[in-house]
Amino acid sequence: MSIELRNVAKQFGAVIAVRGVSFSIGHGELVALLGPSGGGKTTVLRMIAGLEMPSSGDIFIQNQRVNDVSVRHRNIGFVFQSYALFKTMTVFKNIAFGLKIKKWAKSDIDFRVAELMNLLELNGLEKRYPHQLSGGQRQRVAIARALASKPSVLLLDEPFGAVDAKIRQELREWLVRLHHDLNVTTLFVTHDQEEAMEVADRIVIIAKGTLEQIGTPREVYEQPSNEYVARFIGVMNVLEANVTSGIARVGEMEFPTSSALDGPARIGFRPYDVQVSTDLACYRYRAVIKHTFFLGIMLRLELEMNSGLVIRTRMTKEEYSQLGLDDGKEVSLQIRKYRVLASQSGPLSSEVAYTYQMPPTIAEGI
């Protein structure tokens, strides 16, 4: 194991930032630490780096317990959220800093820095100062600096948080490529589930200091351990419904349930499980497209039903243009699969597949 946490907790005065978190990361893995802001991600990362002492629990790096090992001897590379570049040093000196401290020979330093500048496409910038760089360049300098002395583990705190959306996509691809080339165990913090999904081999989900789930993007997406994860990962639609005689109703929507109990219930379904058609007779419910959000290759649509109920769905750009959709357009829809949800942190019930047969129309068969 490259990194292992066993029951690690951290308390700042009265605030419990991390509660008994355990997980391990194998050699060469690229793992995302995902969770909402204030959930304790940075604290976990800082404890692994040794910048923060855990209140309890053990941390292992390369199978060695490092609780009592100081930051400087942990052999980690850390990329700060703010990058924390040395502002009185040039790009070259920033990258060379750790090597100089570790007393590398000058020729080795020159070679290594040149190699990294090449790898991170920073050529020609060696004499610049941090304030003369763009956000993306700064970030790459920070990564180069962290990688310079060949750390056994690379830790990044919200590496794409401070750059604008366009560069962010580019930097994500960077990180994946870099990881592929160097194969250094990498743990990065993000609050953006799409980013985690796109970049990471595995995702560790942390909320309110508690580990919610750990798994591959697919596992986390398809088998979320609880509603919290499901909502966080898939932007799950959750509707507050009312059950009467085995059918949960919300607005004009109806969801058959197996529960015999009448009363309030919550219905959850994924955006991908909303089927949309421009043929108004195709599905049972009607809605108007209120808003289309462009998220890279995926689109997010907000559909407003007659009762005012708002439902979120996703589709690719191709689907969108094939269907000839647009804001303000009326569509018919149905929910392909849904779940009846229990408590937020309880395990999820299994999904119910549901297809509604349209009553035959007169036009049919012509």
Binding site: I76, S82, F86, K87, T88, F97, G98, Q132
Partner: protein, 302 residues
């Protein structure tokens, strides 16, 4: 450099957008008031000092500087400055470091205490030392019995000067170090640096200009301090007279030659002030040039 941006006193960089919106009359009125004030209260007295100093000719000027008691005053001033300034530079660094990089109880109190010497009249500060260490003071008998001389001797003058100049370095450094935060230090730690290396390679360079600036101001004040030092020194010619005390004594002598001599000695302090300004401007120019050079290499490579 944060040290420069916090001090926007340079004519070329502090150009305000609003200036062009004012009517020309108001603009010129304000400029004239500012220049007039600076002229009457700063430039004229300065010129006058030199004018008076050379009133009896250049020969007399250098003669009056070579007088044994004056030489002794210059020497004493240098000794005091050479001890007090490094002490305060060290203390200022330590205090600023503590305030900027750590959270601890009593921090607000420490910041207030650092400013105390600015709030207290130097004469009162001097008197406090007399009350402690003077012959009639709390520790007077004990000091006497052990043959330790503080008041009317170098140690007392050192204490007084150090006390009065405590705030300069610390006050320059605290805001600068606070603005810098601890990120860079933490980054250095993760890159394998120990505490000392972190301080030497990261903290010190990033607060270098603030430190130098504080030291210059501290130095100017240490050499020029009059009030506190005059209370504890006793102004014994050739022994406990510093430059300002010497100027004062000569100025109040009966002879007109002594009056001119007092201006000659005072011109040393005026020169020091000018030198301070020159060094300060040079330092600012140097940092700007470093950045300009870096900028140019960037456009070459691009």
């Amino acid at each position: 450099m944060a040290g420069l941006t916090t001090r926007p006193l340079r004519g070329d960089t502090a150009k305000s957008q609003r200036g062009s919106e004012e009517t020309p009359f108001i603009k010129w009125l304000l400029i004239c008031i500012a220049l007039g004030f600076v002229g009457v209260f700063l430039v004229l007295p300065l010129i006058n000092v030199f004018y008076q100093a050379f009133h009896n000719g250049i020969g007399f000027y250098f003669e009056s500087l070579r007088e044994p008691d004056t030489l002794s005053a210059i020497q004493l001033t240098l000794v005091i400055t050479l001890i007090a300034v490094p002490m305060n530079a060290f203390f200022g660094m330590a205090a600023a470091w503590a305030v900027a990089k750590f959270e601890f109880r009593g921090k607000a109190l420490l910041i207030t205490l650092i400013d105390l010497p600015f709030a207290v009249s130097p004469v009162v500060a001097g008197l406090v030392f007399v009350v402690w260490f003077g012959r009639q003071g709390f520790l007077g008998n004990w000091l006497d019995a052990h043959d330790i001389h503080i008041i009317f001797a170098l140690p007392g003058m050192l204490l007084a000067t150090t006390f009065v100049t405590v705030p300069f370095v610390a006050r320059e450094l605290i805001p600068l170090m606070q603005a810098n935060g601890t990120d860079q230090e933490q980054a250095a730690l993760t890159l394998g640096a120990n505490g000392w290396q972190t301080f030497w390679y990261v903290t010190l360079p990033s607060s270098k200009w603030g430190l130098i600036y504080g030291i210059i101001l501290c130095n100017a004040r240490a050499m020029g301090e009059f009030g506190a030092v005059s209370v504890v020194s006793g102004a014994i010619a050739g022994q406990t007279e510093t430059i300002p005390l010497r100027v004062d004594k000569l100025f109040h002598s009966a002879t007109s030659a002594a009056g001119v001599a007092s201006f000659a000695v005072a011109s040393l302090l005026a020169l020091l002030a000018l030198l301070t300004l020159v060094i300060k401007s040079y330092l600012e120019w140097r940092t700007e040039r470093a950045y300009a050079l870096a900028q140019r290499s960037e456009s070459n490579s691009a």
